[in-house]
Point group: C2
Chain length 701, copies 2
């Protein structure tokens, strides 16, 4: 790893000959963050986290229940403690910044359970911006294969914090965020009223998904999530409304078990990011740092990409994924009869390729190109799509040639209908097809109930499936964007070809439902995006009257849609609207043409979850900056300190801002474009209407 | 299908304009067998079966419960009835006879449920030797996808018959048969005491597997099973000890559902074979006839085969599947350290190849050739074997060349550890490996709990998996022998490369347990073999002192082991003992060398389940006959009427019979070999000791 500079300093190791003792505290700290570990009188391991003088996580138990009534919850003694320090700087393949410093103090507590002799290590890493810890089961004679019944990790909060949460659903993250006190967390009504996607499974009405964003009464910001989720189920949090205790709740498998493991094994990292500034939460690289370096040696084929797609026209009902009206619509030979609404036809796709080529858009996604869309949904069947058979009006070879001539990349679409077993069987065939026809990336999807039946989207089996898919994609040098999967945990460091995921409630909900709250995108970076890029599909310009349902409209202004290209980081970033809708606003679309999808640097100008986010980013390999600012229900004026610009350079700025009187309810598509020259000492003022936004391109002269 | 002669005669179709009626009986009959259908006052469909004047199945309900509280159990009316007749003769690719006549009367009852409008057809086929019926769901607008919660088929017996049964286990058929009255069927004690294989799942203590063999107080023989089990779970039978009602009990999936279906769909056939002669049950071809013709066009590569194997030496503990003593037995480089007991080494395999080549044995199976056997068992892990990596002492290429030079076929072994998902993913790789190294057949295995976790060996998902495997094997022109799978249902007609299955309690139980009852092999042909060939692994010559446990011994004489090559039909037939044990009895082994594994004709000389079986078969493409006779706990003299021999021909016979004083408890390996010339008018007397047998080769001069 020639691009990493690494410093490891081993501080000290304490080993006791007689390990039968307890009560003593062991701690590690980094600036204001302090981690304290101890074992109580029952031999139960526990930890606390402090931020300055604030005990943000009160003594919280650690441990496991295993299948067969074994419990790793007490009778532990410390056999030794290792302390060390680590400092490296590494370069992400794709990212918000070009270099990431990974600096922490590490404390490994080696435990032994007296009653069983089982060994268990708990590894803490204390960063400037929080704490990560994980369990490690060393290789040992008495514990080889084991099945986790429950993980007993607690996060005992110090008070009734404000929380930004979605239900602890085993199958979905596609929810609106609720802002409530911890004491008020209850997802029952939300779960029961959310019928607009096809699979939801909530069994615990006070469970929430991570990343969970919290704000204390003292103004501290706390984010709880996990990093490097591999061969283990996703962790949700069970909320005790009275004690403010959060406890790990692992997504079960088909028979109710949580994880099938073999020593040596380590769990994902449990992460607690903390700051007194909301912006620091967004700037944190702790989750990436807790992941392993890239296992892909040659990453030259992994590239950021903006793309358009034959997609929104189906979402909004203008066209259809399917070729025929239904599976029974056939001629005497059994061939499907075209409905005339099939969007993924060669001529229409060429229109998107032309648009991409003319507008600095690198890719074109086409959904509905392959047979099966007449009959794929909601039946829990196993063999849904074959991933290689195009509809008669979609000419793969012709489009490959056409796109290549225009310098545009075609993006493959593999919807599995959640039949993961079937996709596993067909995957090599699917990837060979991609390589044969020049596709360098694929969007996969998992709509519906999982096969293997009884498994959930976020259980260990599916976690392994997603990673298997990403690895297989890497073998074929294909980038992957997984939809309806588990929310990310920074694995894009280790598998940089896994460029994005959905795993959240995207812009698409405005097409087929009542949509997203006006402050939705001000919460997402503090929650869903903490784990990694999301394919949110921003850039809708026609903000109302796009659907047959006239009540549907985006809770956004046009400029907010532009700003999302900066505030929502994804190296695979869609311009989601139709070419004809962009044609109506060519001057505004210029920002999307200009904006990069990957960055050398990022400055969080200001942020408050639920209220607003303003971010400046420096385009990869350039000296150009782009600013995005969005606001929730309140209009807002933001003053941008431009001191991040080079002191001696001049810049030409284009400011795309909500026009006077424009907000998400009025004159949504109103904007003003101003051009001016700027330097690092200029003062830039941006006005955002309610639910509005502003975008700025700052090109070095 | 140029080898089929087919006659279809449409008798009459009755259609009613007004379908609101009931009570009338509709019947079809063939010689002594009569089927009667009616609908009761609740609109519940029902059937009866008569054999002559015996009402062997009293009025029994038909129907389904579907998920979502839909019930197809009443409110039905008959919309029409179609009667027809069918007669064809077809040639099996491999079989007990060269031609099979398929002659039946068919009655299709078209039903409509008044409350829902759902259409359901019940198709009855009445043969000379019994009745088959299945449910057919026509394509219909109101019922497309549906999930079966329960099949409601009943078989109401006319009395407290004697039954030969094994527990209704979702995962295994490897049980000893119990002979009891229907009123006494209870599998709890058997299930709870059967701990010698690694997965058993019994949830209903009066459930039994099919084929279920029954004998009435009047001396009628009744066999209940199913034919053509495709895309549906196996049917077990719930026994009501008081009413003698048997009811279909389908093996569930991971979430408790039974089958995910789409119209048009038809279930497997439910089969009731009946006769007043036990021999007729064994001679019945009804189950094969209810299966579809071969879907494999070119079957020239499908051939019968006797084989020896590197197998019994591991079963008996002389050698091991694994290369090292355990997975932790490694050197500093992490390489496994050989235990010195690994049987699948190149030199040892060559010994088997030499033996096969010298003794008219076509194949050599080698288990334990591939890495992973140190750590494969009982942990419910998913990725167990990779199917392509040999141990360091097994030279695939060298053995391929050596076997080819000797004219011997190597047989592949793919143990999945029941991780069917993993095998699905690796299957192409595995079959490509076989073709690359000249393997034309594979033995697969499913030891342990199934992955997908929560699925059972006999549920719909695994039924589909086995067939997927057989189809994939056919694509590669590979014959397949599936172990620990569902018991067969005649699918070897449709997929003739699926040459054998285990799915029963084979000879191997004598190696690693207390073994099988002395009458076990006299029951198997009436039960397990009704559905198709079993890889029973006969031919053990060293009948005691083969195991470290001196109490283990086969409940057999040596001659009974010879006789099994005739009484147990399998076109893939093992000579299971070690070459050195055969070398001790070269003259007796001559029978195994001579006996074919496939036949042109079969005569059941006499049979009684639990007591004895005597069968004569004519070798494929020859005029030579082979006789096998075995007996249970009683010694027996059998007079063989040789009138099946050609009238004008002379034959040289070799008779292998238990020596005087030989039975399974005394002088087990004692035998006498007599040679004589025979004609069709000769009288052949065979003496069988207790648990003994006799084998005869009759070669045309």
């Amino acid at each position: 790893m020639n691009n990493r500079t690494k410093y490891i300093i081993l501080f000290f190791t304490i080993v006791w000959a007689n390990s039968a003792f307890a009560q003593k505290d062991y701690s590690a700290d980094f600036k204001k963050v302090k981690l304290v570990f101890n074992i109580d009188n029952n031999g139960t391991p526990g930890y606390q986290v402090f931020y300055g003088s604030n005990n943000i996580i009160k003594t919280s138990a650690l441990g496991f229940k295993l299948v067969d009534n074994k419990a790793l919850d007490k009778d532990f003694v410390i056999t030794s403690v290792d302390n060390s320090s680590f400092d490296e700087t590494w370069k992400p393949v794709l990212g918000e910044v070009s270099k990431i410093r990974n600096q922490y103090k590490q404390m490994i507590v080696h435990l032994k359970q007296n009653t069983t002799g089982y060994l268990l290590d708990i590894v803490f890493r204390v960063f400037e911006d929080g704490v990560g810890f994980r369990y490690e089961f060393p290789k040992q004679n008495d514990l080889k294969y084991f099945i986790v019944a429950d993980e007993l990790t607690q996060f005992n909060l110090s008070g009734d914090h404000k929380a930004f949460w979605i239900p602890g659903d085993y199958d979905s993250n596609e929810y609106e965020y609720t802002e409530s006190k911890i004491s008020e967390v209850n997802n029952k009504a939300i779960f029961e009223s959310s019928t607009d996607i096809c699979v939801r499974t909530v069994r615990d009405f006070t469970s929430v998904q991570t990343p969970l964003m919290l704000k204390t009464g003292d103004g501290l910001y706390i984010n709880i999530h996990e990093a490097a989720l591999i061969n283990y189920p996703a962790m949700q949090l069970h909320v005790d409304n009275n004690s403010y205790q959060l406890s790990a709740s692992l997504v079960p498998d088909a028979v109710g078990n949580k994880a099938y493991l073999k020593t040596p094994f380590h769990t994902p990292w449990r992460t607690i990011i903390v700051s007194d500034k909301a912006a620091d939460i967004l700037a944190s690289k702790m989750i990436l740092n807790l992941n392993e370096p890239s296992v892909i040696k040659n990453t030259s084929w992994i590239k950021p990409m903006k793309f358009v797609g034959v997609w929104w026209e189906m979402q909004t009902g203008k066209g259809s994924w399917s070729y025929a009206n239904n599976a029974d619509s056939t001629n005497a030979k059994g061939q499907l009869l075209p409905s005339g609404k099939h969007s993924a036809n060669t001529a229409n796709v060429k229109r998107y390729i032309d648009f991409a080529a003319a507008n600095n858009i690198q890719g074109v996604l086409v959904e509905g190109w392959n047979t099966g869309w007449e009959d794929w949904f909601g039946t829990w069947k196993e063999n849904v799509f074959d991933f290689v058979t195009p509809y008669p009006d979609f000419n793969v070879r012709e489009l490959q040639k056409y796109a290549a001539k225009k310098g545009v990349q075609m993006i493959m679409h593999n919807e599995t209908g959640s039949s993961a077993t079937s996709y596993d069987r067909e995957m090599d065939t699917a990837f060979k097809f991609m390589k044969r026809f020049g596709y360098n990336s694929v969007k996969t999807g998992y709509v519906g109930k999982i096969v293997p039946r009884g498994e959930f989207h976020d259980g260990q089996w599916m976690i392994n499936h997603y990673l298997r898919t990403a690895k297989k994609a890497a073998e074929y040098q294909v980038m992957i964007d997984i939809h309806e999967a588990v929310r990310p945990t920074g694995l894009n460091r280790m598998y940089p070809n896994w460029v994005a995921s959905e795993a959240g409630r995207g812009n698409e909900y405005f097409a087929f439902s009542h949509g997203n709250p006006v402050n939705h995108e001000t919460i997402l970076p503090f929650t869903r995006f903490m784990g990694g890029p999301m394919d949110y599909t921003p850039g809708i310009f026609k903000l109302s009257n796009y659907s047959k349902d006239p009540t549907r409209k985006l809770r956004s202004t046009l400029c907010k849609q532009l700003a999302l290209y900066v505030t929502l980081y994804s190296p695979l970033q869609m311009a989601a609207d139709l070419p004809e809708n962009y044609a109506a606003y060519k001057d505004a679309f210029k920002f999307i043409s200009d904006v990069p999808a990957d960055w050398d640097d990022t400055k969080i100008i200001g942020a408050e979850p639920g209220d607003y986010i303003a971010i400046a980013r420096k385009g990869k390999g350039t000296n150009n900056w782009f600013i995005g600012a969005i606001t929730g229900e309140n209009s807002r004026d933001i003053n941008v300190d431009l001191s991040f610009l080079d002191k001696n350079k001049k810049y030409a700025a284009v400011i795309y801002a909500d026009a006077p009187g424009t907000d998400w309810e009025h004159n949504q598509e109103g904007y003003e474009i101003k051009k001016m020259n700027l330097t690092s000492t200029s003062l830039l003022k941006l006005h955002l209407g309610k639910g509005g936004g502003a975008a700025v391109s700052i090109i070095q002269l």
